[in-house]
């Protein structure tokens, strides 16, 4: 299985997943169920993570299709533009869902519901255009695949990085700033779970978590700038594939300290239960692995 193949697997996740999470949220609001609402928010957060590899593998699929005469480059480009727009809105939705999970605030419900409906629309149209790339059977007989007039988001992003020589270095600086913020706060929170730091309620430590999310956000944005400008440098690199894989699992481990106490449970004063300590240690190792692969990326992985 190559990355283009993986794209065919992953590209259904945002559409179907969003549908399910959206249904959960509506049911939660109708039944006034906090548990269902949390489940929906977790779903939105996970989907925001999974949308990243769905987009990145699309880059690999695009390269794999290059030079084929039976594939319309215009349709591929329109699909990519729609997907990038959907990805951006999806990440904002994931951020809001994370904030709602971190500190339950009521105004987030409506905001997330509206944003999720918008995102679903964007994801569905990206998927619809994508379907036309290799499925002529779904078109009316004899019709050409429609090329919708999407704003050229992907090309504009690439041009922004490539035409301005200062963008790449500045993005690299901020990629390191984001990395330090994220790693520092993650280390602190997980050391509290492990019991290395004691004498402080977990709820007080997790008030720093938005800074870790800010760091993660900075790195997703700057990382996407690198990818938009030079996709072939990354899709052909196995170290990058592993880096993204580890980052997604590491991202999921952020949910553990985020959601502690959401159901009224209180964390022991000294250290988390064994399962929590395993997640905390795993989280630290995963983030170190992400840094390792990022650093080794230029030296390994590309043939």
């Amino acid at each position: 299985m190559n990355l283009a193949h993986l794209h065919l697997l992953l590209n259904h996740v945002p559409t179907i997943g969003l549908g399910i999470a959206l249904a959960l949220l509506v049911a939660a609001l109708l039944k006034k169920s906090e548990d269902l609402k949390q489940a929906a928010f977790v779903g939105f957060f996970l989907l925001a993570l999974l949308a990243i590899p769905a987009y990145l593998t699309g880059g690999a699929a695009q390269i794999a299709l290059q030079g084929r005469t039976d594939v319309s480059r215009e349709v591929v480009a329109a699909h990519q533009d729609a997907a990038l727009l959907a990805l951006i809105v999806m990440e904002v939705m994931g951020l809001l869902a994370w904030i709602a999970l971190w500190r339950f605030r009521r105004w987030h419900e409506t905001g997330i519901l509206v944003l999720a409906i918008v995102t679903f629309g964007l994801v569905a149209s990206a998927a619809n255009i994508g379907g036309h790339i290799r499925h002529p059977e779904i078109l009316l007989q004899g019709a050409d695949a429609p090329v919708p007039g999407w704003p050229r988001t992907a090309a504009a992003g690439a041009a922004f990085v490539l035409d301005n020589p200062w963008v790449w270095p500045i993005a690299e600086v901020f990629h390191f700033v984001g990395l330090c913020l994220l790693f520092g706060v993650v280390l602190l929170v997980n050391l509290r779970l492990l019991g290395v730091i004691r004498g402080v309620p977990l709820a007080d430590v997790t008030r720093l978590l938005p800074w870790a999310i800010l760091g993660l956000g900075i790195n997703i944005v700057t990382g996407m700038l690198f990818f938009l400008a030079a996709p072939e440098q990354y899709t052909q690199n196995s170290a990058f594939v592993w880096k993204i894989g580890l980052m997604l699992i590491a991202g999921v481990t952020l949910l553990y300290p985020t959601m502690w106490g959401a159901n009224g449970a209180s964390m022991p004063e000294d250290r988390a239960p064994l399962s929590g300590r395993i997640i905390a240690a795993g989280s630290i190792c995963l983030w170190i692995g992400v840094i390792f692969l990022g650093r080794f990326l230029p030296f390994i992985g590309s043939e």
Partner: protein, 155 residues
């Protein structure tokens, strides 16, 4: 080449780091440098955010243990930094971004030491030190990251 930087660059260790081409050479040192600096600057920044009033419920005393980890991070960054410098001593020593980076690191490390000796003992204050530290880490990261570009465009 008779200069000190030239002599360093021609030492056996420096040549090995620069030219061996093995993954446990230059790439590993670079990774350890990043790991050390992100531990040091990351934890230091988290403590600074606490000093600035975010997460006020965290007692400073509970964070005192982090200094061992931060100083370990500093040691790792310093040792690997010297190795990386040695591998390309002539270019690095004439790179203005490198001097700027060292000054920022010096200020940040002094601010960290003062935070430990003054703020943690008195259990209060430290906002000025926290801002100074955050600015210095940002400056050090920027200058360090931009060294390659300064070398390319200016030198």
């Amino acid at each position: 080449m008779g200069s000190l930087a030239g002599q360093i660059e021609q030492s056996g260790v420096a040549i090995w780091i620069r030219e061996s081409g093995v993954l446990y050479g230059y790439p590993l040192i670079l990774f350890l440098h990043t790991l050390g600096l992100s531990t040091l600057a990351g934890l230091s920044s988290a403590i600074n955010l606490r000093l600035l009033g975010f997460a006020p419920g965290i007692p400073l005393a509970s964070l005192a243990r982090l200094f061992t980890l931060m100083w370990s991070g500093f040691a790792l960054t310093a040792v690997t930094g010297m190795l990386l410098f040695a591998a390309d001593a002539v270019r690095h020593s004439s790179n203005p971004a490198f001097s700027v980076k060292l000054i920022f690191v010096l200020v940040a490390v002094i601010a960290l030491a003062l935070t430990r000796t003054h703020v943690f003992r008195l259990q209060s204050g430290g906002k000025v030190l926290a801002v100074l530290s955050l600015v210095s880490w940002f400056g050090a990261l920027s200058a360090g990251r931009l060294m390659a570009y300064v070398a390319e465009f200016v030198l």
